[in-house]
């Protein structure tokens, strides 16, 4: 009976159904887009040398100078295969602030000394070198720079770039490197910031011996971050090391992710509030049109609770149908958009400021789906209580004599 009552006024039902469908569709799409943006930020952050975890010498993060580097990372590296889950990858790095200069330009950079083979499996640089080569072993004092930096310095592969920094003896360390390759990254800021040299040569330049600034780890499953961090902290306590998760290393991204959770929920609420006026209005109209019928039902012996249940059931059927269709439309839209992603190159400058890449791949999260449907169905039922109680409050005589 409730289902048939839903379709008594087809036009009105289709109008409110359309509102619910569009509302749910927008919830799913905006949620998926937000998750896609958040994913992008996290992936960018992790790929831009952060990794899922990093190991440093205790106190390094408070004062990241070269003399606070790990002096014997080999001891830590030897233990990693037994502590990390299968499929994990790691890379040892020297990372210091430096000044890069050539005849035309000079500026601050981050000098990163890496083992090319290991680093290629851990960070963006593995697939990022688009011109030249990534630190071939037979080329001494080679350097790979970002395209934006190369343009800024008006230089190219084959030319020299001088790097200056402070070594472990607190003396100025300076060395000329030959540009052997150019990399492209998601963000121009990354291309301008990082320059890559061979780990061994960085150690020589900075008089580090066998030391290293950090060990970066990428896990096969990002969900394992906290578990592995705890395991490493326990196991490496005697090695005078600190272990940091990407959330600790990228506090801005972490804060933005939390903000997205709140934003998505608020968006759902706003959409629902807008929808709820239509739901209440439609249900009230349906109730007032059928007052005599409710009087008849009461006369036949239906209790007021039965009237309430009847009206609520009609409302829930409408909401469930709208939700279902909205879900189908939303999921289809996200599927279509996620094939190639959404290209936001036109807003590249603004996106870079937020740490986002140019192509966003929307992603539906089960929790968002459950929340969107929960908001519509549960709150929809709540706002339908008023019209339902209104229907039940008429006495049989009042209802039967209604014109």
């Amino acid at each position: 009976m409730a289902w048939r009552n839903v379709w008594r006024n087809r036009r009105r039902t289709l109008v409110i159904l359309t509102a619910v469908v569009i509302g749910v569709w927008s919830m799913i799409c905006v949620g998926a887009l937000s998750r896609g943006i958040a994913d992008q930020m996290v992936q960018n952050g992790i790929a831009t040398l952060t990794g899922h975890l990093q190991i440093h010498r205790r106190g390094f993060r408070s004062d990241p100078v070269v003399e606070n580097s790990m002096t014997d990372p080999a001891a830590v590296l030897a233990r990693l295969p037994g502590l990390l889950p299968p499929g994990s990858r790691w890379s040892v790095r020297v990372r210091v602030n430096a000044v890069a200069a050539n005849a035309r330009h000079s500026g601050g950079v981050t000098l990163v000394g890496v083992d090319p083979a290991r680093e290629a499996q851990v960070s963006f640089i593995g697939g990022g070198v688009t011109t030249g080569a990534f630190l071939p072993p037979d080329v001494p004092w080679a350097i790979v720079v970002g395209r934006a930096l190369a343009e800024q310095f008006d230089t190219r592969p084959g030319r020299k770039l001088v790097l200056m920094s402070q070594d472990t003896e607190r003396e100025i360390a300076s060395r000329a490197f030959r540009i052997i390759g150019v990399f492209d990254a998601e963000m121009a800021a990354t291309e301008k910031q990082f320059v890559f040299v061979n780990l061994a040569q960085a150690r020589v330049m900075l008089k580090l011996g066998g030391g290293a600034s950090e060990v970066a780890i990428v896990l096969p499953d990002p969900q394992l971050v906290d578990t592995v961090a705890h395991r490493l902290r326990t196991a490496l306590a005697s090695e005078r090391c600190e272990v940091h998760t990407w959330q600790e290393l990228l506090p801005l991204v972490t804060a933005i992710l939390k903000m997205y959770d709140v934003f998505i929920f608020l968006w759902f609420l706003v959409v629902f509030v807008a929808m709820s006026f239509g739901i209440v209005n439609t249900t009230l109209m349906a109730v007032f049109e059928r007052i005599r019928e409710f009087g008849l039902l009461r006369a036949l012996g239906m209790k007021p609770s039965g009237i309430v249940a009847s009206v609520l059931t009609e409302s829930l059927m409408l909401l469930a149908l709208g939700s279902g269709l909205g879900n189908a439309l939303g999921l289809a839209s996200v599927l279509a958009l996620s094939e190639r992603g959404i290209d936001l190159s036109a807003m590249a400058a603004g996106l870079e400021f937020a740490g986002m890449g140019r192509v966003i791949i929307p992603r539906v999260v089960t929790l968002d789906l459950a929340l969107a449907n929960g908001v519509v169905l549960v709150l929809g039922a709540v706002v339908s209580v008023y019209p339902a109680l209104k229907a039940a409050r008429f006495t049989p005589v009042e209802a039967l004599s209604h014109t």
């Binding site: 019928e293 008849l296 006369a299 036949l300 012996g301 239906m302 039965g306 006495t395």
Partner: protein, 227 residues
């Protein structure tokens, strides 16, 4: 024991700033199996009395006992239960639920009573056949004539074996032929099943069919005679 006993019923309504006394000390006893017409001009209180007997409304003063139970002592839920189990209603109009078929309308009361589906369906089909609508079970009210709708309402009113059927101007919207057919049907149900029928009417034809006539005037019983 009489089925219904009304003693000095008073009922007042407020219409705007005016207070109207619809019933002004009505006393009436209705025996089991009766076929009674409550007659009188508009405003005489017949519908009000019918509503009070059926538990749809309550008296301001006086006593109404149905099968010995004082209605004033019943809660709204108990009154609803009484209407469900003991009382059948036939109204002048808006008798049927528009989205249900004739069969489903007749089944509806049994559904509320908790009768199993198969039994509901069988009893509904049987009673519709009795009232001459066996071939129209699947039709919606909009697809039935006024007379056919009233027959479905009668079928629904008696299918659950009520103690009493209260019919408020059941022939008001029918032509004389349909009205006569309806009254004959109810008379037959009264005779065969011993269901008590109480009509509120100002239709001469209904008054002629009734075996007992109670005339109301200005909220009082002006005449009460068995024919």
């Amino acid at each position: 024991m009489d089925l219904v006993v009304c003693t000095d019923i008073v009922k007042r309504y407020r219409q705007g700033r005016l207070q109207v006394t619809a019933l002004n000390g009505v006393s009436l006893a209705i025996e089991r199996g009766a076929f009674i017409a409550l007659a009188g001009p508009s405003g005489s209180g017949k519908t009000t009395l019918l509503n009070i007997i059926g538990g749809l409304d309550s008296a301001d003063e006086g006593s109404v006992r149905v099968e010995g139970r004082e209605l004033a002592h019943l809660t709204p839920a108990q009154l609803a239960e009484m209407r469900l189990r003991k009382v059948g209603f036939v109204f002048q109009a808006y008798n049927l639920i528009p989205v249900l078929s004739a069969l489903e309308n007749v089944e509806f009361v049994m559904l509320l009573q908790g009768v199993p589906a198969a039994e509901r369906r069988d009893r509904a089909r049987a009673i519709l056949a009795e009232v001459g609508l066996g071939e129209m079970c699947d039709r919606r009210p909009a697809e039935l004539s006024g007379g056919q709708q009233q027959r479905v309402a009668v079928a629904r009113a008696i299918v659950a074996a009520p103690t009493i059927v209260l019919a408020d101007e059941p022939t008001a919207n029918l032509d004389s032929k349909a009205g006569k057919g309806l009254l004959s049907l109810m008379e037959e149900m009264n005779a065969r099943k011993n269901v008590t029928f109480v009509f509120s009417t100002h239709d001469r034809m209904v008054m002629d069919f009734a075996r007992r006539l109670v005339l109301l005037h200005d909220g009082r019983v002006a005449e009460d005679r068995v024919k």
